[in-house]
Amino acid sequence: MFRTVAELVEIAENENILISEVMIRQEMDVKEKTREEVYEEMEKNLQVMERAIDDAMQGVQSVTGLTGGDAVRIQKYMKEKTPLSGHLMMDAVSKAMGTNEVNAAMGIICATPTAGSAGCVPGTLFAVKEQLHPTREQMIRYLFTAGAFGFVVANNAFISGAAGGCQAEIGSAGAMAAAAIVEMAGGTPQQSSEAFAMTLKNMLGLVCDPVAGLVEVPCVKRNAGGSSLAIVSADMALAGVTSKIPCDEVIGAMYRIGRQMPSSLRETGEGGLADTPTGRLLKEKIYGTTM
């Protein structure tokens, strides 16, 4: 069983297999399941992600009215104008935000690694798909690669905002997506690890400060940030850019930063954006009327 990213990359390199393959074999081993069973379970998750994005494109609205409709707004903009950051980038952003709009509306999603950060991995997958034209198997492998990196973070640090702030959620999710994009684009296991490290480095210190304690503001838009950073970092890694601080040490830094974060910035809805005049006003409005 791999415990670190270094071990994960080493196994993949020594056996000349993909990161996704290391994860698939470990899952078969730990759960005593066949390859078909493990694939089928992931295929189900993939279908849930696909459906959530479809739902988002019909336009959704949360109960509070705080979020919803932006995924559709961006798609419309992409049809009418040429996005400055590129079509693929805005497509990923739209699909990542859409997934989280569905989540905020209490629809059905697949947590990757959490519900609040559930947009980054599928958002990037279904955007990159349009350019790389992967097989269904490669799309399933994308999720195993993302999962392999998330597995290391979950066991060595944390993946919940309450434990480690938003860096643990969107930071992990975006970084997982970056590593998976690299593999799908034909990069090496080491390049996946570089992309992961570069994404997480840019998310270090990000606090979890949800307005009114809801997974809406700023969570939905932070999925846009996580997915766009994932694409940028994947491109950097594929270009041969490396992280001066090794991946596992970045994860270690994320852990120590999270431990130092006060409780007001760890999903209690007490600090940061939640504690702005508008944040407080929104909270009053929501709990005063609809809840």
């Binding site: 992931m42 990757t112 959490t114 195993f144 979950a154 949800p210 009114a212 809805g269």
Partner: protein
């Protein structure tokens, strides 16, 4: 390691909005129901730190209710669970508790009916994964990664042997085992993680073994 499957990371499939506050809360509720062995009539639920501060916004309240009703994390009825609980005669009270706890997402559930009562502490550690850290005053660490049987027994010699003898007879392998007692000679708790689900006939036989008070199981 806390997480042992890729599906802890890519998953669960769930009703939004929060994996730790909604899906995890539902799993804590379901674990309590499983251990109680039936649907409770009442529940007093203490919430701490992040759970206490944000439970309404995250749907932690309806998720815990859904779990007590036996719902899975992706049950479409989840957001209506508080109303369904009322219809089914389950009274739930939520208490925002300011006591200090080890984990920010902690819930203490006291559930019961006219004759029985059960108290447990569950923590939601992220991504929908939970741990049961206390049951009826006994500390334990139950991850839910494996099926498990929990056996309340009298702290007497031979109690453990009588249980393991039965498991051996049915070729049930023990992966992890903990024994905890409140005081010498008083009530004790055995927590046994096994590789496969333990069938009801085996549970029946265990119930009849020496010094055994009560048995419940967790299905993985």
């Amino acid at each position: 390691m806390k997480y042992n499957s890729v599906f802890d990371i890519i998953g669960p499939v769930m009703v939004g909005p929060s994996s730790s506050h909604t899906a995890g809360a539902a799993r804590i509720g379901k674990a309590a129901r499983n251990l109680f062995g039936k649907q409770p009539k009442w529940a007093k639920i203490h919430l701490y730190e992040s759970f206490a501060k944000t439970y309404r916004g995250h749907g932690t309240d309806f998720a815990l209710a859904g779990g007590l009703l036996g719902f899975e994390t992706d049950d479409p009825q989840m957001s209506k669970a508080l109303d369904i609980a009322k219809e089914k005669g389950l009274e739930i009270e939520f208490i925002e508790d300011s006591a200090a706890v080890d984990h920010p997402n902690t819930a203490r559930l006291i559930i019961g009916n006219d004759s029985d009562q059960l108290e447990l502490i569950g923590i939601s550690i992220g991504g929908g994964k939970v741990e049961i850290t206390e049951l009826n005053g006994f500390e334990l660490r139950l991850s839910g990664n494996h099926p498990a049987i929990l056996i309340m027994h009298n702290d007497r010699f031979g109690a453990i042997a009588s249980v393991t003898r039965i498991l051996a007879k049915y070729e049930v392998n023990i992966g992890h085992m903990e024994v905890n007692r409140k005081d010498v000679g008083k009530e004790a708790l055995m927590v046994i993680e096994v590789d496969q689900n333990v069938e009801d006939p085996i549970l029946k036989e265990l119930e009849g073994a020496d010094h055994i008070i009560q048995i419940s199981k967790i299905v993985s």
